[in-house]
């Protein structure tokens, strides 16, 4: 198209319309927004056919499966809004990161293309079924590409839903794949290395530092996104990371704590009870907020300190529990264990029937509660399971330090 502007004719390609302006890409590569009335179309371009993306297999390398759900690791510009959205699928990732081909042969399964804030328990279930099927069909490790915002929730969900003999590795990136500095390539390479390692559990593999030197391997039930934008946003809380992958050597080191490949037999328990919630207490919170959860099967509270809410809320909590809601107490401190036997409010809470969540992360406790209530009908049984360590989410003893 050609646009008259500033007494000069500019030739360019019409890209899109934004806020009533025509966005035109000039031959210099710059985009400008000009009034549509100043432009005339001179030629209609024929959409080019998408290039074929062929990935060759190398005999002798392990078979991995990449299940893509979307997120920054697979994001590109969306001309509708001008911002980034998830559009890549797994085979695009392979073409973009050629080093992956040196590590394994891949089957790719595009399961979803969503930003992770749009994840739901129903998609966790679909994901669990898909990953389970991949392992059943011979994958010696599974990589799940995922948006980072709720990756820790999904990793926890899969931890509970699948007993796995092979690594299930969640990976994402904090800086979009369309920038040369993206952390997607290194994270993906490290994830593939971890997926071919001796690991046998669900893990998150992401940058360990701001430099491109090491990725940390975090246990799926003990990991948290602790920074909005840094590469090393993911941290293990309550335990050290269960391993690391050096870059670019791809050397995987696992701690003695890591569950080893082949420890468990493949099994799928994909029931979830979605009517569960997580509520963070704050000073001045009123009981009506708790009443909003009437009818919920489970509620995780992120209390203050050792696991407290104000005395004012206790009758409302009591009412919830009496009506059949399971209430689990965790701490918004993130680090450390709840103990409701130290102060009066804590004791009052225990008397109402609140279950202490030990040192579980509030999010992990929520996911666990959904899973427990999806699989166990008996309340007493469910309460016991919430206080037992199922997938490394709950430490029996608290080690030193943070």
């Amino acid at each position: 198209m050609s646009c008259e502007y500033g007494g000069k004719t500019h030739k360019g390609i019409y890209i899109t319309s934004r806020n009533d302006m025509a966005v035109v890409k000039l031959s210099s590569g710059y985009n400008i927004g000009v009034p549509p009335s100043s432009c005339t179309c001179i030629e209609q371009t024929v959409p080019s056919t998408p290039r074929s993306r062929v990935v060759n297999n190398t005999p002798g390398l392990p078979d991995l499966s990449i299940v893509s759900t979307g997120g920054t690791i697979a994001s590109r510009i969306d001309y509708r809004t001008g911002s980034v959205t998830s559009q890549f699928d797994a085979s695009d990732i392979l073409v973009a990161i050629p080093e992956l081909a040196q590590i394994a042969n891949y089957r790719t399964l595009p399961l979803a293309a969503i930003l992770s804030e749009n994840m739901t328990p129903a998609i966790w279930q679909e994901l669990a079924r898909a990953v389970h099927a991949e392992i059943r069909d011979g994958a010696t490790g599974v990589i799940v590409t995922h948006g980072t915002d709720t990756m820790a929730y999904s990793a926890a969900a899969l931890s509970f839903m699948i007993d796995t003999p092979v690594p299930i590795v969640f990976v994402g990136s904090q800086r979009s794949a369309d920038r040369p500095s993206s952390d997607n390539a290194m994270n993906a390479v490290c994830a593939a290395a971890a997926a071919t390692s001796d690991l046998g559990e669900v893990a998150v593999v992401m940058h360990a530092t701001t430099s491109d030197d090491t990725c940390a391997i975090h246990r799926g039930t003990r990991v948290r996104k602790m920074h909005t934008s840094r590469r090393n946003a993911f941290q293990s809380v309550g335990i050290p990371p269960i391993g690391s992958v050096a870059f670019p050597s791809r050397t995987v080191t696992l701690t003695p704590d890591a569950v080893k490949r082949g420890t468990h037999t493949l099994a799928l328990h994909d029931n979830l009870e979605p009517h569960c919630a997580l509520l963070q207490f704050y000073p001045g919170m009123t009981p009506d907020l708790l009443r909003a959860y009437e009818g919920y099967k489970g509620l995780v509270l992120a209390g203050t300190g050792l696991g407290h809410v104000s005395t004012l809320l206790i009758p409302a909590i009591k009412k919830l529990i009496e009506a059949g809601t399971i209430v689990v107490m965790t701490s918004q401190c993130m680090h450390g264990r709840v103990c409701d036997r130290v102060y009066d409010t804590g004791r009052d809470l225990l008397n109402t029937g609140v279950i202490e969540g030990g040192d579980m992360l509030p999010e992990a406790a929520l996911v666990k509660l959904m899973w427990v209530l999806g699989n166990v009908k008996d309340k007493k049984n469910a309460a016991e399971m919430m206080q037992a360590d199922l997938k490394g989410e709950l430490n029996r003893r608290s080690a030193h330090g943070l």
Partner: protein, 618 residues
């Protein structure tokens, strides 16, 4: 030289740092730091990404030939945005205003909706792997009839400390990029236009001053040659020389091509061989540590590989620059051998092994491994191939060396290096904003006005107008200081003191003004100005310097004042004796308003009290 007949066409791109409070896409100050003040460091790898059209830019592809590991220094004046660890803040509005003002000064048209782009740059100078840039205005006029094509607002790149180590203090400082059309036809004209644009930029009073704050890129081609972009010419005086030397280079490359064709020269991959074995016992340090040495016979290139293109640069240097992109240290060619530890005997053996005839040149590349040597050899073939092709001057981005010669950096980038910056919303420049912009007076106009209004010599006025102390001069005028006094201090006195090695920059504008006011009020003599500046530059507070160096009250005056005060209080003196010193001291100091050193006051006062008590007159 008749540049018109040669078909010289040149355009320039001027990059000037803007003096804004904050950086272009974060709230960090635009302060440059000393490298040893860095507070932390990290390293990253960069990789080329596709444009939104699905292509990889050719310049980026070339950079990908080597390991892209880069190290960065952080400071307490940089943040996560420079680290590429936080999304950018909206485009700095102050910087945009400066750009729009400059656009208006050139009679340009603003872009109604400004889109920030990412210009792919993976040489490490940007942590993100791209430089953010936005086209702000188009089509302006130059006095020579030429055109300013565009004004872009860009972020400054990180400063290279050494090799692949960069300092993040400079990254993100707003930079205006002014691109002219290819409207210049002689080296001198290029320099003049650059000077003019620089003057217009400084007229805003909103640009940074000093070495490195303005850089010129020059685009040059001659008939039969090709467009070559020479980056980073920092000294204005060198521009004409750079142009002259590039013309010389392109001319020589054209001549070499003709000669090569007459000789039926040939560059063929088949003429290459592994010659690692030939240099098994070599004394050459470079070849000794090479794991793989490859050679290629360039048919008909003898003597031409070594021909000088511009001072210090040969066709061999060009070929070497290409090979270096694979990470090798360079190449050897038989036009320059024996040398560098390679013996005559080895050369003979090499030539015979490579079946090189008299008119042929043999090039050897040494690599740390087979892959690197193959990459370098391929680059040699590409560059030597250009030399005898229809386009013997490749389209290139080149960097300036000392004195004005240049070296190859990478191919000219194409439009494929542009990608929309998705983290920044477009900015609308409405008519109201554009109309409200006040165009500042050009420095040249200002100088003419000074010359006329203040009866200052025009050359002097021009110097003053382009001095970074111009705001101080204007303040002085505003505070009713004599223009000649201020101009003389700024241009002559301060310059002389600087040449003496005095740290004259330590004197604040307030310091100058205090001195001038002292002179104007008769409190200090004009002759005392150099000493006052010296003292303030050495760290004295302004008042102390004035008190010490410009006692407005002479010793005799002081003695008179002291005698008068003692005489009017003789009873008090008699009653208190020597103890009268303290109370009288206060009275004298009040009288002289602090412009005399207290020690001197007390000395004279003590003597006069003694005299009064003993009845003798001092």
């Amino acid at each position: 030289m008749d540049y018109k007949a040669l078909g010289l066409v040149a355009g320039i791109e001027i990059h000037q740092q803007l003096d804004t409070k904050e950086k272009l896409f974060c709230h960090c100050p635009t302060t440059l730091r000393e490298v040893d003040e860095h507070s932390g460091e990290f390293f990253r790898y960069l990789r080329a990404t596709e444009s939104e059209m699905g292509e990889i830019d050719r310049a980026a592809k070339e950079e990908m030939k080597r390991d892209r590991k880069f190290q960065y220094y952080t400071y307490d004046t940089t943040c996560l945005v420079e680290n590429d660890e936080e999304p950018p803040v909206p485009l700095n509005d102050e910087a945009l205003s400066v750009c729009l003002t400059i656009g208006k000064m050139f009679g340009m048209t603003p872009i109604p909706q400004i889109h920030t782009m990412r210009k792919l740059v993976i040489d490490g100078s940007n942590t993100s792997g791209f430089q953010r840039t936005a086209l702000v205005a188009v089509k302006g006029e130059l006095p020579n009839g030429g055109e300013i094509e565009t004004i872009c607002l860009e972020e400054e790149a990180a400063q290279r400390v050494k090799d692949d180590l960069f300092s993040l203090d400079r990254l993100g400082i707003p930079l205006i990029e002014i691109t002219t059309s290819p409207c210049m036809h002689s080296p001198e004209e290029v320099q003049k236009v650059a000077e003019y644009i620089g003057m217009v930029l400084r007229s805003t009073g909103k640009v940074k001053r000093g070495i490195g704050t303005i850089r010129q890129d020059v685009n040059i081609s001659i008939a039969g040659g090709a467009r070559v972009e020479i980056k980073g010419v920092q000294e204005l005086d060198l521009i004409a020389e750079v142009v002259r030397r590039e013309v010389q280079r392109q001319q020589t490359l054209l001549a070499i091509r003709n000669e090569l064709r007459m000789r039926n020269a040939l560059v063929a991959h088949a003429a290459s061989q592994d010659v690692t074995g030939l240099f098994k016992d070599t004394k050459s340090a470079v070849l000794k540590k090479a794991k793989r040495i490859s050679a290629i016979t360039l048919k008909g290139f003898a003597g031409l590989a070594g021909r000088e293109l511009q001072p210090g640069r040969r066709l061999g240097s060009e070929i070497s620059d290409y090979a270096k992109k694979c990470g090798v240290g360079g190449i050897f060619h038989t036009d320059e051998l024996p040398a560098y530890g390679v013996t005559e005997e080895e050369v003979v053996r090499l030539r015979s092994h490579m079946h090189a005839e008299e008119q042929d040149c043999v090039v050897i590349v040494s690599g740390a491994n087979e892959k690197q040597a193959a990459c370098a050899l391929n680059q040699v073939i590409i560059r030597a191939g250009h030399a005898l092709s229809d386009t013997p001057v490749p389209e290139e981005t080149r960097k300036m060396l000392e004195e004005g010669s240049t070296a190859y950096m990478r191919p000219l980038p194409g439009a494929a290096r542009m990608y929309p910056e998705t983290d920044i919303l477009p900015v609308i420049v409405g008519e109201t904003r554009w109309n409200a912009i006040v165009v500042p007076e050009l420095l040249t106009e200002k100088a003419k006005r000074y010359a006329k209004d203040y009866a200052i010599d025009l050359n002097y006025a021009l110097q003053l107008a382009s001095s970074d102390k111009l705001p101080l001069f204007e303040r002085a005028i505003h505070e009713k200081i004599k223009p000649k006094l201020a101009a003389f201090t700024i241009l002559s006195t301060a310059t002389e003191l600087r040449r003496e090695g005095i740290e004259i920059r330590a004197v604040s504008d307030e310091g100058y003004l205090a001195i001038w006011h002292a002179v104007e009020s008769g409190r200090a003599a004009k002759e005392a100005i150099p000493d006052l500046l010296r003292s303030i530059a050495a760290g004295s507070p302004v008042d102390a310097a004035l008190a010490q160096l410009a006692p407005a009250i002479s010793r005799a005056d002081l003695e008179t004042i002291v005698k008068k005060i003692i005489a009017t209080r003789s009873d008090f003196v008699k009653e208190k004796g020597k103890a009268a010193l303290g109370p009288l001291m206060g009275l004298v100091m009040e009288e002289v308003r602090g412009s005399v050193d207290g020690k001197l006051v007390s000395e004279i006062l003590r003597r006069e009290i003694d005299a009064a008590l003993t009845g003798k007159s001092g």
